[in-house]
Subunit: 370 residues, 3 copies
């Protein structure tokens, strides 16, 4: 099963940044263990390059953006938005076919996605389904956490919301949550857990905005979905279960949990939360944002504590015991491990000599005609 | 000889905490490289469990004590004081025979001792002799240091008190100490060095409470004893050597230096210091405590500096040269190494497959009759 | 080519300290990965010893200087300035032939040089030529940086001053610098790059002290010389190129960049800067010192950022691409690698058993006649 010893899955779209973060300025970020620099061209197109000059490995993020080119802050090597080196100041002619890796980006609604695997396979069709993120009936609120944990732990956290009764006892959880009936869906690359908490009494964070305060017969219908290594979605419907179906006012929320590994023990955790009710009510937006992100922070702190256990414990002494509610998680972890290992096997076939240094002989200025 | 590369000796009693530290609350502590959580039951019994839920390794020290059970702060797995898992909230029935390791504890006077080796061998008879700690003629004073050093270095520090003239020149040492005659006792598992400093002039920390201020003919009779990997005792008698034996007033002190490895470069260092004179004098208690723990802090700082040398130096370049005063230390280090290696050999025979994950299929609530 | 994975070159003189730093006091410093302690004897002679007592490895820098001997702060072992152990307080006789390594030092002008390789080869004749450092026509100004980078990167930085137009765009560089013609000198152990920037307009840091402010026809004639693994010299002449040679007032500066590896990712960076003009003008000395060391700090910060790339990147993914201006650097890096590997091969032949502990049986005081 996947854990922090498992290689990353590269052939996937991951969120590199919120769209609003990308401007005409150099933004460095380590994604899947690699240093990346991003910027937006004058035409507004997002670009991601390896954050390492091809010459002496200077970080391009400490460089200068001139128009749509990056000029290395060390010796002035200039790169276009494809990562091609187009100028070497100390040389009359720029070597051909030299440059830094460029990574495909796709901007979709509030998110910019990056593909760090085989470029030939970077098909935007492979983006996980996320249509609601662009639809006007969903009022959204976003946030980011620098998660000090392996990304798989957060997927697992989200797939089994049993933990709401314990880790979130004071925020979004209720005691009956953990004991509510659930069922699993396990398909290739899709793992879900459905949980119906009926009847229940909602905690204030949900009761107040949905108008179900004081209601003892509330329904809380939850589906947690692993949609890709980068994307987990939680969907919840709230209503009064005592009303006949036709009279129910159903309030729905969706939360996109977007996970991008940074290292094997840290992750970028982007969150977009949406609701389809009281969309115009800024007070509710503020109230929910404050309360929900306080709850998400409980996950972030809890998983950081868990990561410490893994970091400090001899791997030979580590074990895990799983129960039925872990079914989708265990299947998900097996799936991630299988994909990572298949990729690794493919890479070891494809790799040539590494760590070589090319000495390119370029005629220098001195030898040019005046 | 044992040093920071030597495995720990597990089949021993080590001090886990002062008795006063254990309350009805979760206390985490890393002992011999393992994360432990301790608490006291409602009946006052001290308990130590592995600080790692059997389910997803969440630290139980971030959990909740409910009566005498620990409820994991992540998914609510409940453990009794034996470490048995007795409730899985998401499952109708708790899996049998699942749980976390429980470690034997013995409370004896001011100390709680833990056994982290083979549970079958956890015989309280093997506790090192320490009768004086419970006897009323000894007035005691305690302290704790987070020692940034391997525990063997502190045993060695205590076995050769030559260092009093140098490391403690301004506190408990005098220049003549290092040159005083000494003799060794080396038996299996017991190592001692006797040193008689006669005549001498005591430093204020000893002269004032013993009434030997200004006395040029004081005797300072010292025995340093390694009693176990966890326990070193220093015994000193002070008197005026010019008086006939019958007229001497002999003042005695005993110090229990209790060492529990945390990592290979850090240790828990508990100290209980006792005296058999002026027991009722709170002023003397205060004066001695302040001065002695200032001296012990010189050891702590000195050994932390020494540890840095070991950490920063290529092991192939490291060497040590020993002299006669190191005789008991060298024998002690050989003894610790032999025990550690014998245990390691035994463990490698006993160990089965490690790092495996058990998927226990428990029927979940949904499938239960209503 | 040499990089942070290449062993250090030991058979060389390196700067250990500015002469002014060495006083009758213990000064610890890690040089070429080894902990060293230095001091000056009462006669003013500089001494360097291994900073690790031969007994229990206590850092001698935490010890006491008594006259010209070092008394270990732990058990009082005393060493003379040759590193010989001359007293063991707990023993009647000091063991013969025991001690700590002493490293040859040579004081030359403002610098104290250390030899950490084969002592038999420590010939002061091998000091790199540096005559100007002692000559009165050069007015000097010194500084030190704790450089968080491998030392080879700084040599490379200095050998290709193309970077002045970019890393130092706001201080000592001008845009035309990178494109100026250059030529290389590559001999065994000597690597130089000459660059003539003519005509140019000098930045204020050079224009003001040389009286060339506003001059559009300035000449800036530069030679960067790798003189040894420890010593890089930059030589520059400034003058007005429109004047006939006989009328030119040539202002010259020399900068000794003195690099001593600390670890493979950090270095001691000593700098002595000299000028042969306006020697008496304290205002110019101050102005140039402030401005030049601000520029040197740009190198220090840039190379620290570069070091992070190396530290965070999988070595298998690292590569470098070189152009003509890197010619001397590439040759220099090959030279350093060849020397390091030759030394390593020689050491592996010479090395005997490592990590052994000698138990020296010295009769102790008790057995001495009174």
């Amino acid at each position: 099963m996947a854990n922090r010893a498992t290689p990353f899955v590269f052939n996937e779209w991951y969120v590199a940044a919120f769209a609003a973060e990308l401007k005409q300025a150099l933004l460095p970020r380590t994604l899947l263990g690699k240093r990346i620099v991003m910027f937006r061209t004058s035409a507004g197109k997002p670009v991601a390059l390896a954050d390492r000059c091809a010459h002496r490995a200077f970080p391009l993020s400490r460089s200068r953006l001139e128009g749509d080119t990056v000029v290395c802050g060390y010796h002035g090597f200039r790169y276009d938005e494809q990562g091609n080196c187009i100028e070497v100041p100390s040389a009359a002619n720029c070597p051909k076919g030299v440059g830094v890796a460029q990574y495909p980006l796709v901007e979709r609604g509030p998110l910019v996605w990056i593909w760090m695997g085989d470029p030939a396979a970077a098909d935007p069709q492979r983006l996980p389904e996320q249509a609601w993120l662009g639809q006007p009936e969903w009022e959204t609120s976003s946030g980011y956490f620098d998660l000090q944990s392996n990304y798989v732990s957060m997927h697992e956290n989200l797939l089994d919301l049993t933990h709401l009764s314990f880790l979130h006892a004071d925020t979004i959880g209720t005691p009956d949550y953990a004991k509510a009936p659930f069922r699993s869906e396990i398909r290739d690359g899709y793992f879900a857990l459905h949980r119906d908490v009926v009847p229940t009494e909602l905690p204030p964070v949900w009761a107040r905005p949905t108008g179900l305060e004081g209601c003892k017969s509330a329904a809380r219908i939850v589906k947690s979905e692993f949609k890709s290594p980068a994307f987990h979605q939680v969907n919840v419907s709230f209503y009064d279960s005592q009303l006949p179906e036709a009279q129910r006012r159903v309030s729905r929320i969706k939360t996109a949990h977007l996970l991008t590994p940074q290292t094997h023990s840290s992750s970028h955790y982007f969150i977009v939360h949406g609701r389809d009710f009281a969309q115009e009510d800024a007070g509710i937006t503020h109230f929910m944002h404050e309360n929900l992100f306080a709850a998400f922070n409980e996950d972030v702190e809890g998983l950081a504590a868990l990561e410490q256990v893994w970091l400090e414990t001899d791997p030979d002494e580590m074990f895990e015991m799983s129960v039925a509610a872990d079914g989708p998680s265990v299947a998900m972890r097996r799936y991630l491990k299988a994909r990572a290992e298949a990729e690794q096997a493919a890479r070891s076939v494809a790799t040539g000599a590494a760590g070589t240094v090319t000495m390119i002989q370029v005629p220098h200025r001195q030898e040019q005609p005046a």
